[in-house]
Symmetry: C2
Subunit: 406 residues, 2 copies
DNA sequence: TAGAGTTTGTTTACTCCTGAACTAAGCAGA
DNA sequence: TCTGCTTAGTTCAGGAGTAAACAAACTCTA
């Protein structure tokens, strides 16, 4: 049974798996270059992984002038992860295969402020897990709109959910007996972006989300920045307008009071663009129908966002700004205010920074949470702590039943 | 001669030296804990370093309940580094021993916009080097007020010096035949702060400087963030006031137009606090003498700075904010506006972040530049590239002449 | 069709580093 | 003073990883 003489979970072994999942099949030589490992080690590790049944050899690739490469691919059924997105009125679940494909999804009503919240969440999760196939489950990733002290412990502070020091990591872990990684939802999204999206090509990126709230995540050297207490990326409460509206955090003129969904609705109502009881849908419809007052609401928000983001581009010097979130559906209107203000607010040396807006799908939040689990193999420094190690061990052990070498 | 069988420069070996330099003598066990190395390895490495004459065994330390520790200390004469600070009207040199002590300093008039600037700088540096003792020189660190694409190559863009793609790294390296590390001056200061200052106790810090300009450096996980092109930390051009004065970068209301030395002077003149030809000294004197209008100039700048810094504290979630720079001499006046505005602008979860103002000495900038060299041993990931490797190799080789084992 | 050149992948010898078991050297209490 | 406890430091076996030489498998050119 013990294929690997040492019991130690091997970081590189699973880094290979993660790379194959994120970028598709690759040759040993390509992997060695991508992961900065020696070809010699790649030979060794791929031998192990083949024996374990976690990867398989694919067809040869046409020669590039030398010996043709034999591609290695993931065995998709080697594992999967579950992603959970917690919002203030529902939870979304998604199961994602080790190769990054979404296997199934589910979305349910949920009251995060209920006293039975934790038990309720565990019960729904268990139900979702039970409904799955027989692919070995590596772990659960949870994305929450708040600060997470450390992914491993998973203690959450989320004012918008009424959570103070909610120990959801520990509880879910105990209830499910699986590794559980908890993280701020925007950070989780940034991890997914790094693994499957534009972040693949950029080591330094600023990820900005617009939608219910406004958020950001900072990616430096390919790693998402957490800050001292997991609170990094909080742009919603950057002070923007000293004379502004009072924010729920107690201050005046936070960015959130100008660019969040509820802020847009408030402003639109005040100006009579939509009725006093109408919501964001009405505003969207009006803008889509060409109402100049409605588009103005969006473009002004874009203007404010642009100034704040420009400040961060100065300070962080990213290669790219990536905009995500439900709000991107209306980006055409935002953009009208964002683009000129953004370029104007940048100093010449930064003016070339590209802003990319990715098309948004509804399960992206939950997918991001699942990516937390699937990305742990990349986490060579052990930022995800014990839970990350557990995920890696499960990955290797799941396959141990199959192989058996001399 | 070849004490170490392999020619490879050893990162850990010099990490030990850097730690001893920064924190003073330590036992093998303490070092192993601090550097996350196994006690076994510490035994091995300390044996080597003792044989090389780079460290020595000191007295025993009183027992902590167990076997008393035998302390290890640096041999101060094992090496030194030169730090260079380039300002728009002078250069400052400083030689710093491997244990962090300043050995000698020098400051000279200098015109960075002259066409002979590079040759001039090299010549002055050579003169300073020649004037030194016989401690082996490990390398030269240069701090510049601008963006540095990579410490190793040392190509600098510094609008305030009129430098565009100035290849000072390559030129100095060729002229001096020494490893040369070039870095933004605030980032260099942050490295020094990490090595010798408050940064020793904090892995996540935001370093803010006030003085001629206003700057910042971001320390995450003990490493100074450089951004995609070495421009991270640029807060001077964060947009603050849309209606503000035009800045030299072309925009309106950059932070710099409200908080730099020249901005303070401009504002003070406009208000008649000082004469139309008077400078910062006059403003300082007036404030020191208790002129309420003069102190107001400072406190208003403090107010503006506070709002920008608060925004960054939200986004970066540091453990501490460290304020440095010539301007800290007047911090008492700044503070009057800074403190209330800072606390007020923070959301509750961040309100506890401490702000530390360190006493400022004139040669700190140049000392910071020297720290670039002395810190390379910590740079296990090789961020400083080839130049860092060269420094490490010099350190080990300098000592090779002395020792000789069996 | 016989090299020459190129890229992929393997083998081998060796270094770096760790875990585990051990010794060394103090303290505190019976 | 003996026994146990704690911390410091060493030894040793072995795993992880690398560099360098090599083998393999193709293309291109003459």
């Amino acid at each position: 049974m013990t294929i690997h003489p040492t019991g130690r979970a091997d970081v590189n072994r699973s880094a290979i798996l993660a790379h194959l999942g994120a970028h598709g099949p690759a040759s040993r030589a390509q992997l060695a270059r991508a992961l900065s490992l020696s070809p010699a080690l790649m030979t060794q590790l791929s031998k192990d992984l083949l024996a374990d049944g976690l990867i398989l050899e694919l067809e040869h690739q046409p020669s590039q002038g030398g010996r043709p490469a034999r591609m290695l691919g993931l065995v998709a059924s080697a594992g999967s992860a579950i992603g959970v997105k917690i919002a203030d009125d529902h939870v979304a679940f998604v199961e994602v295969g080790i190769d990054g494909t979404v296997l199934r999804t589910s979305s349910e009503q949920f009251d995060p402020s209920a006293s039975t919240m934790l038990a309720d969440l565990a019960q729904r999760l268990r139900a979702f897990i039970t409904g799955g196939g027989d692919i070995p489950l590596l772990g659960v990733g949870v994305g929450v709109p708040g600060d997470v002290d450390a992914q491993g412990t998973g203690v959450v502070n989320a004012p918008s959910l009424d959570w103070t020091n909610a120990p959801i990591g520990a509880v879910l872990r105990r209830e499910l007996g699986l590794p559980v990684l908890v993280e701020n939802n925007v950070n989780a999204l940034a991890v997914a972006e790094r693994l499957y999206g534009l972040g693949r090509h950029h080591d330094q990126a600023l990820v900005v989300t617009i939608g219910t709230g406004v958020g950001a995540a900072i990616m430096l050297d390919g790693t998402v920045v957490r800050g001292s207490r997991g609170g990094a990326g909080e742009i919603g409460h950057m002070p923007v307008d000293p004379e502004g509206v009072r924010c729920r955090c107690g201050n005046r003129g936070c960015l959130e009071t100008l660019t969040s969904e509820s802020a847009l609705v408030r402003i639109a109502r005040e100006r009579g663009v939509i009725g006093p009881a109408a919501g964001i849908a009405a505003l969207r419809d009006a803008a889509a129908a060409g109402d100049p007052e409605a588009t103005r609401v969006f473009s002004e928000a874009g203007h404010q966002l642009a100034r704040a983001v420009a400040g961060l581009v100065h300070v962080l010097d990213p290669e790219i700004v990536i905009v995500l979130g439900e709000g991107t559906a209306d980006w055409a209107h935002w953009s009208f205010g964002f683009e000129p203000a953004f370029r104007a607010a940048l100093m010449p040396a930064r003016r070339g920074v590209p802003v990319a807006v990715e098309t948004w799908q509804d399960d992206r939040w939950a997918q991001g949470a699942a990516a937390l689990v699937l990305a742990t193999p990349f986490d060579a420094e052990g930022l995800t702590g014990e839970q990350g190690r557990l995920v890696r061990r499960r990955l290797v052990e799941q396959a141990a039943g199959g192989g058996d070498t001399a």
